[in-house]
């Protein structure tokens, strides 16, 4: 179980470069005006992790409020209105400021051009613009919290959202701006993948991480504009009462839901595809075995992206849409389960007869397999019409989406962070403590969210401040679980930050990976590669002659 650190830390005989992307230029302006995808990736990482912290604090406040029916938080009474704001802000921050931008903005930005053997993304200045749009959106969102706060739920259903007081308009404007950040990032990645691959790298020679991110980018470009117009219509309805979503002035509340979910369902695939993309890298690397079913995984990524556009109505089975629509959406929803299952089986077969070491990234990857299994399987309960009637709008749904968004995507994100940490920073983190964080994460996550399935099936609705006494033990258990999650994340932050105190002497390829980012120094030089890399072998080739070290 020792880590695989090759004895020769450098590829070939090249000396470690003195200047890398981190230290080549210094000063605030060199970062604020950078067009280097790696620096932009680091800035995104810091920004989105702050958003994760903020959203996480709201989550802890939600769970603390629910610890007992008395709703006391450190001796202070939490009112229903305050609670409603807690869960709204938790959701809005996590979805729009963290999950959607984080992996594309940080890890993908850093790694994708390296994996393609390119110097940078297709539109470096647009990349920087994406980041600044994220900053603007984040500032607007945080301002809306300070000025007045929002209590509509992150889904902004009408007519409550068009008539309630609070800074709804400012928050939706913030999300609109963040949407453009997302669109430009997706646009950039699509162009990069089409045009900037290294010589010899055809579509089916690309790492699966790229396939996953390409599929994500397709959704970002196609779905986000619809969110944009939905938010504009919401703002106009709120400010000018144009009569589209509010029945009192001739509008249709269900129309809002159709518009909203037309984006937001594909959006959840913007969240999961990057997570799956990371897992497709971690598993072959730490199994030291070629990926099983490369083409199947590649095609499943694209098909998930496309099928994600035709299932939005499964959020609305009891919302008042037509019966025909309900039936069609349920049938199509089952379709979307197949590509996900295919990936999981392929990953398992990759591990079969592998040569597996359990460093922190691999522990997170194995956690992903189990947590994603639960998340995906519980989706079946919700796609099945008769059970969905009972389970929708209850804690069952809350548990399901946390298993996929957090138990899967965030697990993969943390695994990817550990995996590419040496590449990004040039430092190896403390492996023992890294593994400990993975175990605590797995325990804490399940402790928090497994009870919530039971709360839901027993009839506890979501977004509830009060609850029947019979639900208290499960709520208390879940709250304690949330503290364990907090502990794990705090430890991860400590492990990673502690590594920065060491000198930047990590090997080029600590894990023995086969993708091109490991063929350059850790951290990379500013223009990524000293010589244009040319692809010489098929992806994930672990046969002895092909392995570089």
């Amino acid at each position: 179980m020792e880590p695989v650190v090759t004895s020769s830390a450098r590829i070939g005989d090249r000396p470690r470069p003195k200047k890398n992307y981190l230290n080549e230029t210094k000063g605030f302006k060199s970062w604020a005006l950078t067009v280097d995808h790696k620096r932009i990736g680091i800035m995104y990482l810091i920004g989105t992790l702050f958003a994760f912290l903020l959203g996480g604090i709201f989550a802890l406040l939600v769970r603390l409020t629910l610890l007992t029916p008395a709703h006391k938080l450190f001796g202070l009474q939490v009112t229903a209105e305050t609670y409603n704001r807690f869960f709204t802000l938790h959701g809005a921050i996590m979805v729009f400021l963290f999950i959607i931008p984080s992996i594309p903005g940080s890890l993908t930005n850093f790694v994708l051009p390296l994996m393609l053997g390119a110097k940078d993304v297709a539109f470096p200045r647009l990349n920087l613009a994406s980041f600044y749009l994220w900053i603007v959106g984040a500032v607007m969102a945080i301002s809306s919290m300070i000025i007045g706060a929002v209590d509509t739920g992150w889904t902004f259903y009408t007519p409550y959202s068009t008539t309630t007081s609070g800074t709804v308009t400012l928050m939706t404007a913030a999300v609109f701006v963040l949407g453009f950040s997302s669109i430009f990032t997706g646009l950039n990645f699509i162009a990069t993948v089409h045009k900037l691959r290294a010589p010899g790298m055809g579509w089916f020679d690309m790492p699966l991480f790229v396939w996953g991110m390409y599929s994500t980018a397709v959704i970002q470009v196609l779905a986000t504009p619809v969110l944009g117009i939905t938010l504009v219509l919401l703002m106009l309805e709120r400010v000018f009462q144009i009569g589209i979503f509010d029945s009192r002035i001739g509008g249709d509340p269900v129309l809002f839901q159709h518009f909203f979910w037309f984006y937001s369902h594909p959006a959840v695939y913007i969240m999961i595809l990057p997570g799956m993309a990371i897992i497709s890298e971690l598993i072959p690397t730490f199994s030291r075995k070629t990926i099983f079913g490369y083409r199947a995984i590649a095609y499943s990524s694209i098909s998930l992206a496309l099928v994600s556009f035709i299932v939005w109505g499964h959020h609305m089975f009891v919302a008042g849409q037509s019966q025909l629509a309900t039936v069609v959406f349920s049938a199509l929803t089952f379709l979307v389960a197949i590509p996900s299952g295919v990936k999981v089986f392929n990953w398992l077969c990759t591990m079969y007869q592998g040569n597996i070491s359990l460093e922190a990234p691999m522990l997170y990857a194995i956690s992903f397999l189990m947590l994603f299994a639960i998340g995906g399987l519980t989706g079946i309960f919700l796609g099945t019409l008769s059970t969905d009637v009972h389970l929708t709008d209850t804690y069952f749904v809350v548990a399901h989406f946390h298993y996929v968004m957090m138990g899967s995507t965030v697990t993969a994100f943390i695994g990817g962070l550990y995996y590419w940490w040496p590449k990004m920073t040039g430092r190896m983190y403390n492996e023992k403590w890294g593994r400990v964080t993975a175990v605590i994460w797995f325990i804490g996550f399940n402790a928090t969210f497994l009870p919530q399935f039971i709360l839901g099936s027993r009839g506890m609705p979501r977004r509830y401040y009060n609850y029947l006494d019979q639900f208290q033990p499960l709520h208390a258990f879940s709250t304690v679980g949330s503290w364990i999650i907090g502990l794990s994340l705090f430890m991860t932050a400590a492990v990673l930050l502690a590594s920065l105190r060491k000198p930047a002497d990590a090997p080029d390829n600590p894990w023995g990976g086969t993708t091109l980012e490991w063929q350059t120094s850790s951290p990379p030089i500013t223009h990524n590669f000293e010589d244009q890399p040319v692809l010489e072998h098929e992806p994930y080739d672990y046969r002895p002659k092909a392995v570089a070290h």
Binding site: G293, F334, L335, F345, Q353, I366, R463, Y542, R543
Partner: protein, 320 residues
């Protein structure tokens, strides 16, 4: 394993609930099996194929047979589950013709129910056992959702539209219902109690016309007197279409100052307008017709519950 089902699900209030629970438990066990099929190999492989330096891994790129199997297999399973779910859902969607219809008006943050005979309740409702009941629902303000966990039914309630759910309760006693679509501040306080009665108890409950009137007769709230209930009844039952309360002329005599006064009838005689007179006027309006008015008032025999009649008497008395 029924204890597991009983732990995970609410009490079963209907046959439909039993059907849903069966589907739920089947999916549960299926999920357990599939989960183990994923979790066990992942943990086992990590141990069985743990790192040994120098070991060369086989170059397995794909296996078409296996890949087809695990694509088609789950697909068939999914199609099966879809139809199974559709089956239950079709039952839920179409109410039987003989179902008793109860109107529901949801508003922030309470439930108003109205029975076919016009009686109304708030937050508290009784239905007869073993008979289908359907709820036709609308909202006065924002989205709500009527969720009865024991019956395994829910549906959103939309302003400006009517939506419907139905069920046939088979278990006597209390079953809670609650709002399941976020509607603002007191969303989690918007709940009520559905009591399933046997026929005798239900008939008794229907006689009194619901529970809304009780607060006006128990003396707890000084702002809720029987006379106030009478005023509400005056508007709801339609007395106001013919009788004013400010003395102005309408199709029927104004109630202002009537109680305890001498009333001239169309046959020339005069009577004292005491409580007996008032009650007779409601139930047998043609018996004594006031001079100058036509005998057009319909009888309210059987249309007014005792509490409504009492309330009207108290109201008329207060208009001295």
């Amino acid at each position: 394993m029924d204890w597991l089902r009983a732990w995970m699900m609410p009490p079963q209030g209907s046959e439909f609930a039993k059907e849903i629970d069966f589907v739920y438990m089947a999916l549960f066990w299926l999920s357990v099996v599939l989960f183990l099929m994923i979790a066990v190999p992942s943990v086992y492989f990590a141990w069985r194929y743990r790192y040994k330096p120098g070991r060369v891994t086989p170059h397995q790129t794909h296996n078409t047979t296996l890949e087809v199997l695990w694509s088609v297999g789950p697909l068939i399973l999914c199609v099966g589950i879809f139809f199974w779910g559709l089956n239950g859902w079709m039952k839920y969607s179409v109410a039987p013709g003989e179902a008793m219809e109860i109107s529901v008006t949801a508003k922030q943050w309470l439930w108003q129910f109205e029975y076919p005979d016009g009686s109304r309740t708030i937050n508290d409702i009784h239905v007869p056992v073993n008979k289908p009941v359907k709820f036709t629902m609308t909202s006065e303000d924002v989205l709500h959702d009527f969720f009865v966990p024991d019956m395994r039914v829910k549906h959103d309630i939309i302003p400006g539209r009517y939506t419907q759910i139905w069920f046939t309760p088979t278990v006597l006693g209390p079953h809670n219902f609650t709002c399941a679509e976020y509607c603002g501040k007191d969303h989690s306080g918007m709940k009520g109690n559905l009591t399933v009665d046997n026929d005798a108890d239900f008939a008794k409950w229907m006689e009194t016309g619901g529970t809304e009137w009780e607060d006006y007769f128990n003396g707890k709230d000084p702002k809720k007197t029987p006379a106030d209930w009478g005023k509400i009844t005056y508007e709801r039952v339609g007395c106001n279409s013919c009788h004013t309360v400010d003395g102005s002329k309408s199709k029927g005599p104004s109630w202002k100052g009537v109680y305890g006064s001498m009333v001239e009838l169309n046959n020339g005689t005069s009577v004292l307008a005491d409580e007996a007179y008032i009650r007779e006027s409601m139930m047998q309006p043609q018996a004594k017709v006031v001079k100058g008015f036509d005998p057009i008032m319909p009888t309210f025999q059987g249309l007014l519950k005792p509490n409504q009649a009492n309330g009207l008497v108290a109201y008329i008395e207060s208009l001295k």
